[in-house]
């Protein structure tokens, strides 16, 4: 239906707005996230599991625990970690999707039905001639 293709938001806009929202969430809203232990941590604590927990191999990393080393301001520390992480995930996941994608420019179902349409065209053409 032409009206749908004419008036719809371009993919580029949807994706960019989505990324902007994600960056806002990771960069700003994350500061306000609940600091309580999550479900697993809480239950683990209650059942004495925390004793088994080993120190993380990357615990000394510059952004361990979403705190940026060398940045004193709590908000900026978390926000920066959030933004850096989001962009890294975007590049890696986006890059992976880009590499894996099919290049024929259509969903596999429509590619099949396009083939079928061509086949039936060829058949009717040979009937006529």
């Amino acid at each position: 239906m032409t009206e749908q293709t004419d008036r719809r938001l371009p993919t580029r806009v949807v994706v960019l707005v989505g990324i902007a929202v994600a960056l806002l969430l990771a960069g700003v809203v994350s500061f306000y996230a609940s600091g309580s232990p999550d479900g697993l941590e809480r239950v683990a604590e209650e059942h004495g599991l925390t004793a088994a927990q080993k120190e993380h191999a990357a615990a000394d990393g510059p952004m361990a625990d979403y705190q940026t080393r060398g940045v004193d301001d709590e908000r900026i520390s978390v926000g920066l970690a959030g933004i850096v992480g989001s962009l890294l995930v975007l590049v890696v996941a986006g890059g992976l999707a880009y590499v894996v994608r099919r290049r024929d420019g259509g969903a596999s179902e429509s590619a099949e039905s396009a083939e079928q349409a061509e086949q039936s065209k060829a058949l009717t053409a040979s009937d006529e001639s």
Binding site: V15, L25, A26, A58, Y66, G95, A97, R103, G105, E109
Partner: protein
């Protein structure tokens, strides 16, 4: 629900790593069927959104919080195979850069929060699509139900792993009940966020929602029929 190092013993951790790797291998092949020029950007976006949303813990009761896992959401947006890849990237970055989720527990986290949520989420979603009316309006609610079930499923899959190779001996019935219970609550949050995000994309570009293809394909057939009748 990021599992730290040391909760599961070494053999179990290695086993989850093997399963996770196998899952990723299968996902790489399946993702090719799901992704094309038009939809590939959505995968990057979905993964980024999940990473950001996982930072936003919300309270679910006295002194406990939860966060979106996102497996069901991403599966509905970009397809299950692509979803597995997106989730795996998120967990990888979290473990290596932010020490969120153990490095030796990476396989466990990918399995429990990536594979299980995507499989359960997508499975429930597809089952619901079979019984619900074939309209766009059914997609977000189906995704929400899929999401709410995927979270306790994920939690209980960890309990099952713990039963096999947990480091510290604990009463498993209680553990299952506690984990299942709190993660049902967290699942409600997951459902709300999933419905909101899926609904938003459906409102502007339903063709970019993998889970809506079934509805949109039927629409194309109906339009074709009408055009043939007219001509």
């Amino acid at each position: 629900m990021h599992v730290p190092d040391g909760f599961l013993d070494a053999p179990t951790s290695v086993a989850t790593g093997v399963v996770a790797a196998a899952g990723i291998g299968l996902a790489l092949r399946g993702a090719r069927r799901e992704l094309d020029e038009r939809t590939a950007p959505m995968a990057g976006l979905a993964a980024t959104f999940v990473f950001a949303a996982q930072m936003l813990n919300f309270p679910v009761g006295a002194g406990t919080s939860g966060h979106l896992i996102g497996g069901a959401l991403v599966a509905v947006l970009v397809g299950p195979a692509t979803a597995v890849l997106c989730m795996a990237v998120v967990f990888l970055v979290q473990a290596l850069l932010f020490a969120d989720g153990g490095v030796t527990a990476l396989g466990t986290n990918i399995l429990v929060m990536g594979l299980v949520t995507v499989l359960v989420g997508w499975g429930v979603f597809r089952l619901l699509q079979l019984v619900l009316p074939r309209k766009l309006g059914s997609v977000a609610p189906a995704a929400a139900v899929a999401a709410v079930l995927s979270v306790p499923a994920s939690a209980l899959s960890f309990v099952a792993l713990y039963a096999v190779g947990g480091a510290v001996s604990i009463p498993l019935g209680e553990f299952a009940l506690a984990m299942g219970g709190v993660h049902v609550l967290i699942g409600l949050g997951e459902a709300a966020i999933t419905a909101l995000v899926v609904g938003s994309v459906l409102a502007v570009r339903p063709d970019l929602v993998y889970g809506a293809r079934r509805v949109l394909d039927r629409r194309k057939l109906e339009i074709r029929d009408v055009e043939e009748v007219r001509s």
